[in-house]
């Protein structure tokens, strides 16, 4: 393959991965999946019933792996059995995957609310009706972008894995990165905004999540609005960089051309990892110097 075409395809894969990462994080935030879910689950037990979607579909990696492999399986059948154009096949595959994910979301939020009967947590049908399509919409975007990444890798870049397997692996990866990068921005910060920033989560505040929004009762939309400002895009950049830099080294230094080039790709990969480690360390040191440890303010000191 022409190196220039390879770079072009790689750029397209990077873009699709960036969108997938951003939508994956926002999808999990609308439903409070993964890490923030434990406090949403705990809240009614601490006498704080809420109108926040409780989408407890395992962790993000398995649920995204499910969406992506369902989408890929449907798409491959449509391509080979029904000779559909790949673009349509990927769209329909992503649509089916979003519907399947919708059933998982509905059963979990209803089930979790019903299992909190003794804490008087109601099942709000309007909340489920309004949030589930949003979750499915984000799930569609994520699945479609992951399918594009996997399809380009198999068909154009000649990856040896079949589409379904590759989509499964990328699904796990996007879920893992969404969980590790994105959740940070909808965990302690958003759910516990009423407590001083940086004070950590005191055990006595467990379950006391913010339940009222700027106007009315806070819901999953408010959380995705907040996360769309930083958490979602930063997840997208993290996942896009992972996919792009991971493939970039072997596209520039193609191991298929010669063994020496293969070793160059390994060296390039190690250099990239080293640069990122040093960069992260510099950022952390700078942030610690600038903001320092949490300081009690004067009123707290006086009362203590």
């Amino acid at each position: 393959m022409e190196p220039l075409i390879g770079m072009g395809v790689l750029a397209l894969i990077g873009v699709a991965a960036t969108i997938a990462g951003a939508s994956e994080d926002l999808e999990s935030d609308v439903g409070s999946q993964s890490n923030p879910n434990s406090q949403v689950q705990l809240a009614p037990q601490m006498m704080f019933p809420h109108r926040i979607y409780n989408k407890a579909v395992s962790g993000e990696p398995p649920s995204n792996a499910l969406m992506c492999s369902v989408g890929a399986a449907v798409a491959t059948v449509l391509i080979s059995e029904f000779t559909l154009s790949p673009l349509f096949a990927l769209v329909i595959g992503a649509l089916v995957a979003a519907c399947v994910h919708g059933t998982f979301a509905v059963t979990s939020t209803m089930g979790r609310a019903a299992s909190q009967r003794r804490f008087k947590q109601p099942v709000y049908l309007d909340m489920i009706r309004s949030h589930t399509p949003v979750i499915m919409g984000y799930a569609f975007i994520t699945t479609f972008c992951i399918l594009i990444v996997s399809y380009l890798m198999t068909v154009v870049l000649g990856h040896p894995f079949p589409l379904t397997m590759l989509a499964f692996i990328w699904g796990i990866t996007v879920g893992a990165i969404g969980s590790s990068t994105g959740d940070v921005h909808y965990g302690a910060e958003r759910e516990f905004q009423q407590f001083e920033f940086g004070s950590g989560l005191n055990a006595s505040n467990s379950g006391n999540i913010v339940r009222y929004g700027e106007s009315g009762v806070r819901n999953g939309y408010d959380n995705s609005w907040f996360c769309a400002k930083f958490g979602g895009p930063v997840t997208g950049i993290a996942f896009g960089m992972t996919v792009f830099l991971g493939s970039w080294v072997t596209t520039v230094f193609d191991p298929a051309v010669s063994l020496t080039r293969g070793w160059f790709s390994v060296v390039a990969g190690v250099i990239i990892v080293l640069i990122l480690i040093i960069w992260n360390w510099k950022i952390e040191v700078k942030a610690r110097n600038a903001f320092g440890p949490y300081k009690e303010d004067k009123t707290e000191e006086a009362s203590a």
Binding site: Q41, S69, A72, V100, T103, A114, K120, L125
Partner: protein, 267 residues
């Protein structure tokens, strides 16, 4: 344990032995029917997988009621992890007795992992060994059942060619695993009920039948795929309506809309 129930054994309307019998006998019967009948009837494999997934979900429910909490997804993944190893081993050496050999192999793997979890890691869950055996067996039967749906038979060559080589094994792994782990995870809480949890298991297993049924069109033709999907859709609809009925029965209240309950209402 904050979210995972009372920390003791789970209350159940259906005793474990009944569910175990449904899962093991129904699972194996479905797999063999799907294998011996013409490809048209490969949905029997899916029915077997539904029985197995219900059994697996019930076993997860029993072991996770000891306070696994966030460990529930992990136990579903380990079920299918053990299942894939046992299934491929059994099918490769067992010939026509393949599913039974797989099942026995799964029981042995499950027992070893259960003993490791309790004795070496020291989890100290009384029913851990038995539950791991059950979960491994259920995961194995789910994998073979769904493979029968796609391939129309369970001979090693057919499964390798039609399920493993084209990557659908990844789909079966995750959709079977989610079928086993999701029901209890979705209904986690102090007022969880067995029938509601198991209705989700049937519903999720029906989705697995629908998706693998669609994939079966590659080797069994459109008629067989259509029948698979139709059977799956009917089961899904019935199970989902049952589930919604159970939610309305069990929830404190199911309201169209409303504000949060006031402090007085919570007393």
């Amino acid at each position: 344990m904050s979210a995972g129930g009372s920390g003791g054994g789970a209350n159940a309307a259906y005793p474990p032995q009944t569910i175990m019998a449904i899962g093991a006998v129904g699972g194996l019967a479905g797999i063999y029917l799907g294998h011996f009948l013409p490809p048209m009837f490969s949905f029997f494999g899916g029915l077997g997988a539904i029985c197995a997934i219900v059994w697996g979900a019930d076993a997860v429910r029993r072991v996770a009621s000891y306070g696994l909490g966030t460990g529930v997804p992990s136990i579903g993944m380990i079920a299918l992890g053990m299942g894939i190893v046992a299934a491929l081993f059994g099918l490769s050496v067992g010939g026509i007795a393949g599913p039974i050999v797989s099942f026995v192999a799964a029981a042995i793997i499950g027992a070893v992992i259960g003993v490791l979890a309790n004795k070496v890691i020291g989890m100290g869950i009384p029913i851990m060994e038995q539950a791991m055996v059950e979960i491994a067996g259920a995961g194995t039967l789910a994998i073979i059942g769904l493979s029968v749906v796609i391939a129309g038979e369970f001979t090693y060559g057919a499964v390798i060619e039609n399920v493993v080589a084209n990557g659908y094994i990844a789909l079966i792994f995750i959709i079977g695993g989610m079928g086993i782990l999701h029901p209890f995870n979705a209904n986690l809480g102090p007022d969880e009920k067995q029938d509601r949890t198991l209705s989700v298991a049937v519903e999720k297993a029906a989705i697995a039948l629908i998706i693998t049924g669609f994939a079966s069109s590659l080797h069994e033709g459109l008629m067989a795929a259509g029948l698979n999907i139709a059977v799956g859709l009917v089961i899904w609809t019935v199970a989902f309506m049952k589930y919604y009925g159970f939610v309305k029965r069990d929830a404190h209240s199911v309201v169209g809309t409303g504000l949060l309950p006031s402090a007085e209402e919570l007393q």
